[in-house]
Symmetry: C2
Subunit: 270 residues, 2 copies
């Protein structure tokens, strides 16, 4: 991360930009974000990302302090400066610094913090080994399951648990014990010959890649129990950066169907 | 907030200290905190706070980069500089900046961020009107319900919902519909002549004031349903800063028993 774009200062060196220690994004996870894939200086699915970004911000009641077009200009400036062939952008909005302590209300007037960072798109991951997290659950009762907020603590604990068990990522169950998602991606499983993915009401983030894949694969949004997971013949994870096959879940190997994912051209077709 | 203490820089003006925009406390709520009441330059219950702080940090696997004694010295320096008669300290630890994007692993070596802020202790609150939050639930399945992490999104949404309905704070239910806590405090209710508080297994934070009040009041840790809430004759909220009576819940008035709380001398007895 070398360059960073911010609402107040435009494009600067990352080392030159910092956040107030009283920023409510830092003290209370009072903020939201989007992760956007870019090819050259072209961000993909930008209208959809902005729509979800504003939806996430509205759940918190944080005003987005710029127009979509102005934010897009900032992202493109950032992409030009970084010059990766393919990039992962991250756009973060918090309610901003508050002199006043405590949960609510903050001190007024608030000045939201808006920053964007860029990194080279990670090379495609090898097929993943998943571990069903035991230590925590996805809270499908929370609006935070349906927006991209800064509150990633549970996902982080689940991921660390999976890695501690020698696996790559965690399959997260919701509070009723049904499959919800992985820690930074939606989950698709091939069950009885159909592609299936957990419904948003079970704690799945309404992911932008998920939405496209539901159509392309004619997949079912359907409750997935651990028994169903045990019967899945194949699976993959999706987010706005990549689609990655699942190699095994809890030690049970799944079928290789990698060529299908290549044929989807999910990101190239943009 | 005028002064701030940090691991790397000691005591500085708050305006002079800032956090990297890549700090995982800001990007992913990857961190923990404690709120400590202080009288003059004397922090209360400090051993208990440090024990819970280290417990919280261990859940995330974040090393606490200083001894308790060295952190206490920092807090006392901060109290001396602020010169409030009574203060609210906040000690925040995050995993620190990470050049590497994504949930896990971070870039190595990590240098945790440790900062402390101080504010004048708020004047005692008037008795509170509570609203049972409808929009979100406390996730009792998560270890984050039992430690003080930066992930305050759900509590914030619940508080904002209560205020939008003209109330002061929210009563949060857990995913099974039982009472768990308020948004920054534990809940005690007088039910059938006994003081009761939700068990940690129902999503209550094991609060330090709660622990003392359980003993002092000979209270019961017991599951509390909305029906029980409707039958409560009196109630109060407790955290490390204050104990505040509940005036009403969802529009139903509770008994005034304020003198009991004064007699407890919860904070003065230290």
């Amino acid at each position: 991360m070398n360059e960073i774009w911010s609402l107040n200062r435009g494009l600067v060196s990352a080392a030159d930009l910092s956040i107030s220690a009283s920023d409510r994004g830092f003290t209370l996870a009072d903020g939201v974000f989007e992760t956007v894939r870019a090819h050259g200086v072209r961000p993909l699915w930008l209208d959809d990302h902005f729509a979800r970004f504003r939806q996430s911000a509205s759940v918190f009641g944080i005003p987005v302090p710029l127009s979509d077009a102005a934010i897009a200009d900032g992202l493109i400036d950032l992409l030009k400066a970084s010059a990766h062939r393919q990039s992962a952008l991250r756009l973060t909005l918090s309610r901003g610094p508050s002199e006043k302590r405590g949960l609510w209300p903050p001190s007024l007037p608030m000045t939201p913090t808006l920053v964007a960072t860029v990194a080279k798109l990670p090379t495609p991951s090898a097929p993943l080994r998943l571990w069903t997290a035991k230590g925590t659950r996805r809270n499908e009762h929370s609006p935070l399951a349906r927006v991209k907020s800064l509150n990633y603590g549970d996902n982080l604990l689940a991921r660390r648990e999976a890695i501690a068990h020698g696996m790559d990522d965690a399959l997260m169950l919701n509070t009723t014990g049904r499959a919800a998602c992985a820690t930074v991606a939606n989950l698709f499983l091939r069950i009885e010959g159909r592609w299936c993915t957990p419904p948003v009401s079970d704690g799945a983030l309404p992911g932008l890649a998920r939405q496209r894949l539901l159509r392309t694969l004619d997949a079912d949004e359907i409750a997935i129990t651990p028994l169903d997971v045990g019967n899945a013949s194949a699976g993959f994870l999706s987010n706005s950066l990549a689609v990655v096959p699942i190699q095994e879940i809890d030690g049970r190997g799944l079928d290789d169907f990698g060529t299908l994912l290549e044929k989807l051209c999910l990101f190239e077709s943009q």
